[in-house]
Symmetry: none
DNA sequence: ATCTGACCTTCAGGCTGACTTAAGGTTCTT
DNA sequence: AAGAACCTTAAGTCAGCCTGAAGGTCAGAT
């Protein structure tokens, strides 16, 4: 699941360079080359935005301000100006970082990674992974478009795994969260529920992996 | 509730200047003037750390590394060097921002505020070193992007080393922490587990070094 | 160089933890 | 109140993992 980056940059050479560097590092880059299209973009669709302040057609600081009002997406500002006042103003407007041209692509990359390392926890309501579609609010699960009938506990267990896709979740935390929180001793109840979930999910059930001695995880595709 | 800031800076003039500026803006500043006292500090007691890389007595990057291992506190690095390699290295070590001297105090202030504006949500506990990527919460290990399948004990041992990257961990503490805490006498069980971890890690396995008569350490790259 | 103790690796035994099925008990619905 | 749906426990079985032994290797000391 690569991070999506929006690049707003009018200079063709520089843009090319940045895009190729980011793409090489596994990022999914959308490149907009003027201010008006930047204003039409949806900042919330991206994980991070790289914004050049020097644009024809619109003032970079205005774009920054609008982005900040519509989404929480971190913005990394790019500028040729080395004046402190511009830096201060962008940071005051909510820019999360500031890189001055000229710069090495490695530096930009390092800053982007440093920024993404602390991810915003997206409160997603619908989790789609593989053939599975899990609507946490509606409590509906579909496998390849087919509705799957799960009981309360079965759904909560699957959702608990799906919300941290790929992570191992301990038996204890699953018991605490889904079953009776103050339950003593060991029991095989959890196993029985997962056994049913697996069966009901058919082929996708194989993605619920046992982490021996720890708990369970939902394998990412 | 004002934010607590730790300033590590040996230059008296610059330090004075920064402290007075930050104090004027309502921050509570603790100023340490040399590397050894910086090493004794508790990074987790502060909301943000401003660290000058050029210090007598200790290397700034080492302090940064240690801070990063012991706390999640964001670190803003201060340096006279304008070399990209130093920037990249600090950012790679977990620095959250980088300011080059000379700078206007207003710029530093703006960056500090930009940083504090975003509270830490969920601290991701991911250790990246060399080709290894160890997600402590998810219990996932990747070597050069390839998933490595480790058992519970194997993972815990590797994680124990990685969390104190470069430091030797005694056999006893590993046994206490990962294996049965009240275990009598000597056994070769630990060796067996590390043998398997090394094998599963392939070339990176060589980074698990034996500290003769003491224990093991994971070599930093 | 030789010795000694610590460490590495392989291997098989044994055990812990997990899966499945079945049945009893509980809660919800009608 | 009866029935259905669901949760839990129990029991049998099985797979994966941990462990200690044994023999070989290596590092440090004399």
């Amino acid at each position: 699941m690569s991070s999506k980056i929006l690049l707003v940059e009018d200079d063709k050479n520089l843009g090319d360079q940045i895009v190729s560097h980011l793409a090489r590092d596994g990022f999914e880059v959308t490149w907009l080359r003027d201010g008006s299209s930047a204003l039409d973009a949806e900042p919330k669709d991206f994980d991070l935005i790289v914004l050049d302040l020097m644009l024809p057609g619109a003032h970079g600081l205005d774009i920054l301000k609008i982005y900040r009002e519509t989404a929480e997406t971190p913005v990394l500002v790019l500028s040729a100006r080395n004046e402190t006042s511009t830096k201060v103003r962008s940071l005051a407007l909510g820019a999360d970082d500031y890189v001055t041209k000229p710069f090495w692509p490695e530096e930009l990359l390092a800053r982007i990674q440093a920024r993404l390392r602390r991810p915003l926890l997206h409160a997603t309501d619908v989790i789609e992974t593989g053939a599975l579609r899990i609507d946490v609010n509606a409590r509906v699960v579909e496998n390849a478009g087919q509705k799957v009938d799960l009981t309360r506990i079965e759904f909560d267990l699957l959702a608990a795994l799906a919300q941290r896709l790929g992570s191992a979740i301990t038996r204890q935390s699953l018991v605490d969260r889904v079953l009776d929180p103050d339950r003593e001793g060991t029991s095989r109840t959890l196993d029985v529920h997962f056994s049913r979930v697996r069966k009901k999910l058919g082929s996708e059930g194989g993605r619920i992996a046992t982490v021996w001695g720890v708990g369970y995880r939902l394998l990412a595709t």
